[in-house]
Amino acid sequence: MGLAKRIIPCLDVDAGRVVKGVQFVNIRDAGDPVEIARRYDEQGADELTFLDITASSDKRDTMLHVVEQVASEVFIPLSVGGGVRELQNIRDLLNAGADKVCINTAAVHRPEFVQEASLKFGAQCIVVAIDAKQTKQTPTPSWEIFTHGGRKATGIDAIDWAKRMVHLGAGEILLTSMDKDGTKSGFDILLTRAVSDAVEVPLIASGGVGTLAHLAEGIIDGHADAVLAASIFHFGEFTIPQAKEFMSTRGIEMRN
């Protein structure tokens, strides 16, 4: 008996619509974030993450309406990331019904922003998202953090950065391996474990999930507290209950 590990589907939202497609078994791509959120909620997702990938700033407010609508119907935790740069962005998202916000690029530009946000709204709602790439394999592997969707190197060591973010008040770390993202070859286990073991806050592993075994590895070998995945759930390859059942057979505590 204890805290369950979490499974978190991640949805990319552009101008108020879910993109990259989400297709449940025998059900056509809806594109409607509320409908998709409702389905994942029914399946037993432990939390939902929305990533706002809207490029044009004038359409950014639509994300607030999405969050508001989802939070009116789906009563599980919601995290929202993408373009969070100012305290006002955070306040707006929380007021719309988000429980947590993910800060990524803005933290790299100005690390104190994380501290200000944490003091203002509490560490429990501040997630720092870290995109990392391996830069050295021997003698010991090391990873560097990247911004702008993995295009811009920063020269900052991922483990040092995670520790610093937690020190400044991050309540959770969302760690994505840029090497693994989209490959369906599993999490970067060494990276996940190195960061998870280095910080005292929960860690969400992301990037690379292609099978149910990968999800379990993230928890067991990567020491993650939660696993985030997109495509394996979106296209009905696997359902959340299947994932939970599989992970339970591996001895991982799940909410059923």
Binding site: M1, G2, L3, A4, K5, R6, D41, D46, E68, A71, S72, E73, F75, I76, P77, L94, N95, A96, G97, A98, D99, L119, K120, F121, G122, A123, Q124, C125, G171, E172, E200, V201, P202, L203, D225, A226, R255
Partner: protein
């Protein structure tokens, strides 16, 4: 028409709890307010809370919510949630010590990293089981013992009197995750984020008369 006042003292998002109450009690009026008159007129009160306890208590005092709660819990049911639970005790060790409302004798402590068998990740974040100390309490109606609820917190209540414990949860240690005391029921977890069982608890609250059985 019955009314529920969700006490809004400016700390955090009350959207979800108001929407969840609307869903389970469409026939009742939900007020999100700090207006003393409305709080006095309401049939039930919800005291939410997120963030740091010192900021919460500062705002609670500014709006004289502490006095109102002391007065109103004599007459009507009150549901405390998360920091809203912690605020009901006497004192919290958060922010170098913070005096709270003091409706339930006891204090609030921080989880200690590495206190248990395994390394603890703090905040305690996610779905954990609640063992009901008194499964016959009307607030637990139609909720299976040891159901999972969503938690996110770093501090927990330590009441002086064990008879106020309504539920406990394991996280390195066994801690008190729900309290009841006269008209008060309070949860460390977030019922408004705990899917079916959370909504059931809120539904139980909108029907609760403040009695233990």
């Amino acid at each position: 028409m019955s009314t529920i006042a969700v006490i809004d003292y400016g700390m955090g998002n009350l959207h979800s709890i108001a929407k969840a109450l609307t869903l389970v009690a469409p026939e009742q009026q939900i007020w999100v307010t700090h207006d003393a008159e409305k709080i006095r007129r309401a049939d039930r009160l919800v005291l939410p809370g997120v963030g740091a306890i010192r900021d919460c208590m500062q705002e609670i005092k500014r709006y004289e919510i502490d006095e109102l709660c002391r007065e109103q819990v004599q007459q009507k049911p009150l549901l405390g949630v998360c920091v809203g639970l912690q605020a009901l005790l006497n004192w919290s060790e958060e922010n170098d010590g913070t005096h709270c409302i003091g409706l339930i004798p006891g204090e609030v402590k921080r989880f200690v990293e590495g206190a248990g068998k395994q390394k603890l990740k703090i905040p305690h974040m996610g779905w954990n089981q609640v063992a009901q100390s008194n499964p016959n309490h009307p607030m637990w109606a139609n909720i299976k013992n040891c159901s999972r609820f969503y938690f996110v917190h770093s501090y927990y209540a330590v009441p002086d009197d064990a008879s106020v414990i309504a539920g406990t949860t394991e996280f390195g240690i066994e801690f008190v995750s729900a309290l009841h005391h006269d008209n008060i029921f309070a949860t460390q977890f977030h019922p408004e984020k705990s899917q079916k069982d959370g909504l059931q608890l809120l539904q139980n609250f909108v029907r609760w008369n403040g009695q233990c059985n």
